[in-house]
Symmetry: C2
Subunit: 442 residues, 2 copies
């Protein structure tokens, strides 16, 4: 493929900018194997250095416009935020014939129609996966993965700060103001929390999702927005008593009469998956006429989660540019069939199950007499296996045996099998020892 | 764009085939606006008709090989299943220079390495989004959305039949055999349920996910597989007592010693989102080094959910072929920035919030004396609003008022506001009426 090296100009080196730089550096080889070409930051525009990013091998300009005017750059990554300087920067980059990747939801929501038109006129692309729901590839799901569907509605927890506050109010009965203060101390919320708690940030994201779903222009001013700042803890509690949880949802729904676009606190039946998305996590639920309901969940903000989305856009561009530059190919195999270029796919050792480490659930049937538990636990202790939980059930009337249930900590399966064999051979243990693996998935 | 019409040859007209045909027909206009060209089934190969699909306007051949040898076809959609005839068919299509879209997990898992090589040699693509987790765009997420990440592990509920059985065992204390029989009657499970309940189907899907995650060849024989047929209801119950739910997971994890590839019943802490994915729904959780945890949830099987994934692949191809054939463009804007071609994006009426219909949570403070509830409910009744739940709390000692909490059914917001105004003006009601919208998201 002709594009051997894609050159990135990075504008902004704050939380997300340093994340993008660090992930592109750390995973350079892996990303090249996925993209089909090297992807390298060759020019950074930032007013100041960031101690979290070692940029000593890269050209750094204090004037960010030097990056968009750098002839060598293929793609400009805009991570300075806001709708003033960022807008000028993006428009200049597009006019210079450079592709733009941005995480800037305010820019897309408020100026997207104009920005996209400039991009079209210059035959370049603006990509913005990171603008909604951080690391969750929700833009890609709506634009591509669900392309067969008439989208009927979507609903999202698309502001992590707000969801953190609601989760704390619900789980611990804390008041809004109290949790907000903590969120600010933890760096989740800005000194001026209006954007997050009054739903403005969520409205920016919702208008992008709604436009993608319903083929309508970006018009953020049409969104009905109600914040969570007036929500009382007792209402969160009463809702729970009635079987609901309260989430700050962005909802877009197509009806015969018109489109609903609204951000507000919402009661959701507590058995819905999205009602159980807690803390700073985001989730978007989409209902398509063919697929029915799908849900996408993950971190909605943060340095490397947002970087993950930014770089996904960069890789998309790298694959397309490589394919377009490939005079031999037809330009149709730009996403490698197995995700990596064929040369990168290698035989790898697969562990036999005996070498796999997991925790275990065990159930056995033991005689109901003294010393039994001691015999069992001694075997585990000798094998270096510790017991996290142990329940001995009451014997059923007339039975001389009781079920004993245990959860162990992690150990190699081979080690566990040997210990179980010893336990099963104890005279006080009857029948087989039932064994199910445990994963925390944390 | 040059490709004005993409011609699809559909092989197989069973459950999924009829779904693909029906969705492509029903959503033809919308799909064209997303793909940038018409996408039409022009030739169907099927041994018999399907009463669920009206194919009277399409050429139908009883010999499915007539489809792959039809010179007019751009893309062959293989939905006959299995690894014998389907393999011959796919290889013939690729040799004929046609792109292939398939939902056939057994074919990809068992013959993928060979099939993909033939595709590469013929400079065409094999797409298989529908092969794993039905309508959930998980292949796209792994190949593209998470391309920045070193995948550390993934874990999925990737067999809906098995998950239905486990959910019933857990929720209703039913025995495995009993639920399996019902699943067979409902059409969720085959007459020979081995593929589903012994984890073979899950292993097929897991090897595809693992290859995408870790850049390794498809080697399904290396997967450790343990089914759910020996699982006892009492273990599901004991696990629940200890705070866990049991799911049949496919797990792939990269460790320093090697890759873990395993399908087995697994205890998961019950507060994990994936532990709450119930019934025939699927979910895949992926942990990437940059993004952390993301989760993808939706229907893992069924006619139109699977069709949704098949058509997503078709649209990807249509966009790429249109862009590649576009002599004026650079072939880099193949996915429209806002998901639809610019001409399709139209101003649409947005409903004012007063016209939006939702259910409501209400809380008010009322004097604790007879007749109060009657006054309130009469106002709602006159407004055509019915009350789904009503809780009157006990008065706090010394207080003459009590909180009253209600959940109403759906009504227009304007109607609700008028009713609330009347209620707030009742002499027995004090202060404001708190109002939060309710969505069932069902």
């Amino acid at each position: 493929m002709a594009v051997k090296k894609m050159k990135i100009g990075l504008c902004g080196l704050g939380t997300v900018g340093s994340g993008v730089f660090n992930v592109l550096t750390r995973n350079a080889e892996l990303i090249a194997a996925r993209a089909g070409c090297e992807v390298t930051v060759t020019h950074i525009g930032a007013r100041r250095d960031n101690p979290n990013a070692d940029t000593s091998n890269v050209k750094v300009s204090r004037d960010i416009f030097a990056v968009v005017n750098d002839d060598e750059i293929d793609v400009v990554v805009e991570l300075i935020g806001g709708t003033t300087v960022a807008k000028d920067l993006v428009l200049q980059a597009l006019s210079n014939g450079k592709h733009v990747v941005t995480a800037n939801k305010a820019l897309i929501a408020e100026c997207g129609n104009e920005v996209f038109e400039v991009a079209r006129n210059n035959n370049v692309t603006v990509a913005y996966e990171a603008a909604v729901a951080g690391g969750i590839p929700i833009i890609k799901a709506l634009r591509e993965g669900l392309a067969a569907n008439r989208i009927e509605w979507l609903a999202g927890i698309i502001n992590g700060t707000g969801n953190f506050i609601l989760t704390e109010m619900g789980d611990k009965g804390r008041a809004f103001d109290d949790v907000l203060k903590e969120a600010q101390e933890l760096g989740y919320a800005e000194a001026d929390p209006t954007f997050d708690v009054e739903g403005i940030d969520a409205a920016h994201k919702l208008v992008i999702l709604a436009s993608l779903a319903f083929a309508m222009p970006l018009e953020v001013e049409k969104i009905f927005t109600e914040g969570i700042s007036k929500l009382e803890t007792r209402d969160v509690d009463y809702a729970a008593e009635l079987g609901y949880r309260i989430k700050h949802l962005g909802i877009a729904r197509k009806t015969d009469a018109g489109v609903e676009l609204r951000v507000h606190p919402t009661l959701i039946p507590k058995d819905r998956l999205i009602a159980n998305v807690d803390g700073v996590m985001n989730a978007v639920m989409v209902w398509g006429d063919a697929v029915g309901p799908t849900l996408y969940n993950g971190p909605g903000a943060g340095s490397e989660p947002t970087a993950s989305a930014v770089i996904a856009d960069v890789v998309d561009l790298a694959r397309l540019l490589s394919a377009a530059d490939d005079s031999e190919g037809k330009g149709i195999t730009c996403v490698p069939t197995m995700g990596f270029v064929p040369e990168a796919i290698k035989e790898q050792p697969v562990l036999p199950i005996e070498a796999v480490e997991t925790a275990f659930y065990l159930r056995l049937t033991a005689e109901d007499k003294p010393g039994v538990m001691s015999d069992i636990t001694q075997i585990f202790s000798a094998a270096g296996i510790s017991i996290e939980a142990l329940v001995q059930k009451e014997p059923t009337t007339g039975e001389a045996t009781v079920p004993v249930i245990m959860i162990t900590n992690k150990t190699r399966e081979g080690n566990m099998l040997a210990a179980i064999e010893q336990i099963a051979s104890l005279p006080v243990v009857q029948g087989e020892v039932v064994r199910i693996r445990v994963e925390s998935l944390g």
